[in-house]
């Protein structure tokens, strides 16, 4: 919703007025409102996934709990901290546009980009370990401890807590001392489904992060080049709104995916 408008950049700190607006305030309000409606749309996009998550978790709480144990909560903790910090630096970058501190804008935008990249790095490492442990959904997915799990015996002792997921899911599917075969199949499926949702939700989130980082770097270059009129107050504030939104999504994803005790 940003309106990068001109190559002329008067150093008065005033933004240029586009022809179809009456005054600067109307222009700023329109951009801000547009961004908020866009974020409302984005919220509904993520809600679709969270609703799917809610349904499957409500149907098979045990499977989701067991699957969540494979997701390292301390890596998630670190990442949440990184993202909250990036949100703070982004807020400071926006503040710098308002007080007219061009060096500050650059500094904080770059810091935000660095934190964002750190987040993605940790995320990539997490994905790597999941794929290594055959927890990436699809044909290669193996429920730990299941008859298909060839590594169960090799890794054995050290991984004892995880190795028995299959058995635990089996236990959870007992009805009156008898194994409910259909329920067991559902639980096994939903153990994998948790990873589908994990990869999909964090993947879409990471995709938003990548877009955000690219835009932040682009805006940093444009600020350096004095491309925005004024200090790019409106443009960088809109970018900030987007970045904070991505942060808010993660604030919910973290407990939903990492912290099912």
């Amino acid at each position: 919703m940003s309106t990068p408008s001109t190559t002329l950049s008067p150093e008065t700190g005033e933004q240029l007025l586009l022809h179809h607006f009456g005054d600067l305030e109307q222009q700023h309000l329109s951009s801000s409102l547009g961004m908020w409606f866009f974020l409302a749309s984005e919220v509904m996009f993520f809600t679709g996934m969270i609703a799917a998550y809610a349904v499957y978790r409500a149907l098979s709480p045990e499977a989701f709990h067991l699957a969540s144990l494979h997701i390292d909560k301390w890596l998630g903790f670190f990442n949440t901290w990184v993202l909250l910090t990036s949100s703070w630096t982004m807020a400071l970058a926006v503040r710098c546009t308002q007080v007219g501190d061009r060096r500050g804008i650059l500094r904080y935008l770059l810091l935000t980009a660095v934190f964002g990249t750190a987040f993605l790095g940790v995320k990539a490492y997490e994905y790597g370990t999941k794929i290594e442990h055959h927890l990436f959904p699809g044909p290669h997915f193996v429920v730990p401890g299941s008859p298909r799990d060839v590594h169960a015996t090799e890794e054995g002792a050290g991984d004892a807590a995880h190795a028995s997921d299959y058995q635990k899911l089996r236990d959870a599917s007992m009805v009156d001392g008898q194994l409910d075969v259909k329920e067991f199949a559902n639980n096994l499926g939903r153990f994998q489904l948790m990873f589908v949702l994990y990869f999909f939700m964090t993947g879409i989130h990471a995709f938003h992060m990548i877009i955000g980082i690219v835009l932040i770097l682009l805006f940093a270059v444009l600020t350096k080049l004095h491309w925005f009129s004024g200090y790019g107050q409106t443009q960088i504030e809109m970018l900030g709104l987007y970045w904070h939104f991505v942060d808010v999504v993660w604030v919910f994803l973290y407990p939903l995916l990492y912290l099912i005790e």
Binding site: T3, H20, S30, L33, G34, S41, G48, V55, S60, L193
Partner: protein, 553 residues
């Protein structure tokens, strides 16, 4: 509505059509009026494609045996492509993207939409989505039905489900951006004096439509992405063998696609609310009720999606709740119908072509709406679900309703958009043919459905043939009625720009500027000082008597 921006020129008038005539000036335009015209050309193209598929379907159904299509799968592809093209590439963008784009800034006295570049972007997204749709069509099409139900779409269909999902996804973004633009424009770009209760009802309806587009469309996006994911990676989000639930897909899909019905029909209300007062020469009856009922429909529309799942295995209790909520949508809808008819009461009614289309709208929409109540009842729905009754019900809303209103709107604002007048005789004839052809096509389908003919089959029992032949005959009449406007409207473009700023004597800011308007809409700044729809039936009567007197004399 009085405005200080009456047309007054010193130099030769430069309207938006003559301000740059190169192809480049059209493809890179950010003028909302030109983007409206771009949309009009492109949706007409897709409409013709969708209509061709409809024609093939009706031809196939002339006889009880499958003879036109080589296989049932080919027939499945035909009706799927008909649905996908008509819904995502014609009906959803139809009135908002063409008439809304053109008129919304004019009606509220703005120079343009709030985000002109995003407006152009939304057209390009539509074209990219459409091109993907065409490519899918050329490479064999999709056969899942426009609803992409799982597990058919994710496990069994051998056709290009992923590609079609991508096309719908991209077109959806185009719709979101249009809605977002309208919302912001309505909030921030109104002229001084244009208070909320002075904006035309067209704008109120567009606002409600845009709310649905912004809040609903992303859910469609996520549901088609999940289907694509399941297809592509073989992970079972909706696969029962892997713990998934196919009904979850239906929930997600209809969370958008039921409100999408209101994306299609609310703009129809928008047009009708403008046309009826103008040709009855009376102020709209109960302005605030009509305005707020649009918003009420947008909100209620989000609470009823479960009525598509009555027989899918949804909980019976949820079904009962959804059934009651579905009945509630009838309240704001009927407020509108009653207010339109009350507007006509004691009015001085003129039966020009736009009015004929809008009268058709009221009748057909009512038929569609009342049968909607029937299918919203749990018990009746079990009987008629997935029969031609449903087909007929939603065609009454979407074709009888939306397409009638779209054509009515095009006829009403054609002088404004092009500066030309069309042949009134042919226009009235086309409106009547559309109405007759439509009823002949779809009324027999109510009967067929009630007798038990299921939808989506290319063969049927011989006792249904008479009604099917009637329906196909009606489709022919309808087709002629639909092609006629394309001929006489295009022919009118060869004539001079002689329509004048206000050929219908209508109120509304758009009629206070030139036809066609200049690039920035108004020559002088606009200030609004009075309410909308200040028509006077007495004055119209006097004028009529004068005219009669002149004729006699």
């Amino acid at each position: 509505m009085s405005a200080s921006a009456l047309s007054s020129h010193d130099g030769p008038p430069v309207d938006y059509l003559t301000n740059g005539t190169t192809i480049r000036s059209w493809l890179l335009t950010t003028d909302h009026k030109r983007i409206g015209i771009l949309y009009m050309v492109s949706i007409t193209f897709f409409y013709l494609i969708g209509a061709t598929f409809a024609g093939l379907i009706r031809l196939e159904l002339m006889t009880p045996k499958g003879d036109l299509f080589s296989s049932p799968d080919a027939y499945n592809t035909a009706f799927t492509m008909h649905g996908v093209v008509m819904i995502f590439f014609f009906l959803v963008p139809s009135i908002p993207a063409v008439l809304g784009n053109f008129l919304l800034p004019l009606m509220i006295g703005a120079k343009d939409l709030a985000f002109p570049k995003i407006n152009l972007l939304s057209w390009y997204l539509y074209i990219i989505g459409g091109a993907m749709g065409l490519w899918i069509m050329a490479s064999g099409g999709v056969d899942t039905g426009w609803t992409f139900y799982t597990p058919l779409s994710s496990l069994y269909s051998k056709t290009h489900v992923v590609g079609a999902a991508c096309a719908v996804f991209v077109a959806g973004f185009s719709s979101i951006l249009t809605g977002l633009n309208f919302l912001v424009t309505t909030h921030t770009m109104r002229a001084p004096g244009m208070t909320w209760y002075r904006i035309p009802l067209f704008v109120w309806s567009m606002y409600a439509t845009s709310l649905i587009q912004v809040l609903g469309t992303p859910v469609l996006a996520i549901s088609v992405v999940l289907v694509g994911l399941e297809n592509f990676f073989g992970v079972g989000v909706f696969d029962p063998r892997l713990g998934g639930d196919p009904i979850l897909f239906q929930h997600l899909f209809w969370f958008y696609s039921h409100p999408a019905v209101y994306i299609m029909v609310l703009p129809g209300f928008a047009v009708v609310s403008e046309v009826i007062p103008c040709f009855s020469r009376r102020p709209i009856f109960g302005y605030k009720f009509v305005a707020l009922s649009s918003v009420a429909i947008a909100v209620f529309g989000f609470l009823v999606w479960g009525h598509h799942l009555f027989v899918s295995g949804q909980s019976m209790y949820a079904g009962a709740v959804f059934s009651i909520l579905s009945f509630m949508v009838a309240i704001p809808s009927s407020i509108k119908v009653f207010n339109w008819t009350a507007t006509m009461y004691k009015g001085s009614i003129r039966f020009d072509a736009p009015m004929l289309y809008c009268l058709a709208f009221i009748g057909l929409f009512m038929m569609g709406g009342v049968t909607g109540l029937m299918v919203a009842s749990l018990a009746i729905d079990v009987h008629v679900h997935d029969t031609y009754f449903i087909i007929s019900h939603f065609h009454y809303i979407m074709v009888g309703g939306t397409v009638s209103a779209y054509l009515g709107g095009i006829h009403f604002w054609w002088p404004k958009m092009t500066g030309r007048t069309y042949s009134e005789f042919w226009a009235r004839l086309a409106a009547i043919l559309d109405f007759v052809g439509f009823n002949l096509t779809f009324f027999p389908q109510y009967v067929l459905g009630y007798l038990g003919m299921p939808r989506r089959y290319f063969e049927y029992r011989p006792e249904f043939q008479v009604l099917n032949v009637l329906s196909t005959a009606g489709a022919t009449v309808l087709a002629i009625g639909m092609v006629m406007p394309m001929v006489y409207l295009l022919l009118s473009l060869r004539g001079p720009k002689n329509a004048g700023p206000n050929p219908w004597g209508a109120t509304g800011l758009e009629w206070h500027t030139d036809s066609p308007p200049t690039t920035f809409n108004f020559v002088e700044p606009v200030v609004v000082t009075c309410d909308p729809y200040l028509y006077s039936p007495e004055e119209a009567e006097r004028e009529y008597e004068h005219a009669q007197h002149d004729v006699v004399a």
